[in-house]
Symmetry: C2
Subunit: 197 residues, 2 copies
């Protein structure tokens, strides 16, 4: 509560996002300029860049929070004496996700392919999740009197596989519409492919 010195904030990420999402719905992502977003929210273009490093970053705020939560869950899991397999860890943590928790960006994931900067920033998130998974497997297997080098390639492959399947499950879950229930069913269905063809 102790008020800090200096001019108090008027702008916020939330205010800018509100304006932005409305404009995105109305005119599309590409035809909405940063200037328009900022002015609609009642601020200047320069202020926008005080809150987001790019137009695309505004799109991913809530999704990044989800990824951070997953990252935290996996880190905690690694601290247990018997960490779950990555697949089961995903089923336990992400599986419980409810429809209301889907961020605006994922709800409207079809917008992504229409803009290069959204594709780039989205791909960066996917690569980040992949790194997260690869680290988890590496550190989990290291803590199991592991084989070291040989398993490394397998670990990369396993991480990439689960990253891809997570995305497929997410997409199918979102496409299922408002009555979609929890993510778990779709995750299990995607993971079922693993047994190979």
């Amino acid at each position: 509560m102790s008020p800090s010195p200096g001019r108090p904030r008027r702008a916020s990420q939330e205010l800018l996002q509100e304006a932005a999402f409305e404009l995105f719905q109305l005119r599309g992502y590409r035809r909405t300029s940063v200037e328009q977003i900022a002015r609609t929210a009642g601020f200047s273009r320069a202020t926008f860049f005080n809150f987001f490093s790019s137009k695309a970053e505004l799109f991913w705020v809530e999704t990044d929070a989800l990824i951070d939560a997953l990252s935290g869950f996996l880190a905690a899991e690694l601290d247990r004496e018997e960490p779950l397999g990555l697949r089961d860890a995903l089923l336990e943590h992400a599986g419980g996700m409810r429809s209301a928790e889907i961020p605006w960006a994922l709800q409207h994931y079809r917008l992504i392919e229409a803009a290069d900067d959204l594709i780039a920033s989205g791909a960066s998130r996917v690569l980040g999740v992949n790194r997260l998974f690869a680290d988890y497997l590496r550190r989990r297997d290291a803590g199991e009197g592991g084989e070291g080098g040989r398993a490394a390639i397998g670990g990369e492959a396993r991480a990439a596989e689960l990253t891809a399947l997570l995305i497929v499950a997410l997409r199918s879950w979102i496409d299922a519409g408002v009555e979609r229930g929890r993510l778990r069913d779709h995750l299990e269905r995607a993971f079922r492919t693993e047994a190979g063809l």
Copy 2:
């Protein structure tokens, strides 16, 4: 041989690429402007955009040719009475790839993450390959008195899985250095994960 009317071409994709790759090596992708590329090759910025729709497209020309070849192989495979499974088709076609055939862009794939437009254009290629695989599975299974709807989700998952594993194999193959041999070994090692953990 019949000479067509109009001013003859002086510029070409190859000339522009030569200049570009040299500059990329020298100063990095981001700090090389389209203007510099065009002037180094002896042309104007406007001419550059007559040959490439963007700076990033120049990067992917040879890689796109590889993807087209794979696409052709899969299409031909679907015309046979007993098309291979996707996994075996990849082993047969891509597995035979030799070190000398690696395009400049893939050889230098680490450049990609340094520039947003390369990430975006690279991700578009990955999504394209994924669509290619999903189509293959869909059409192959349709031609086998298929089950229709149920298999669709599994097909998407299987396609995403194999796309991810192909990329892991490619990366490990390229990282293996000049004595890397054929792609097949790395593909097999990546596919071995499928059996599940």
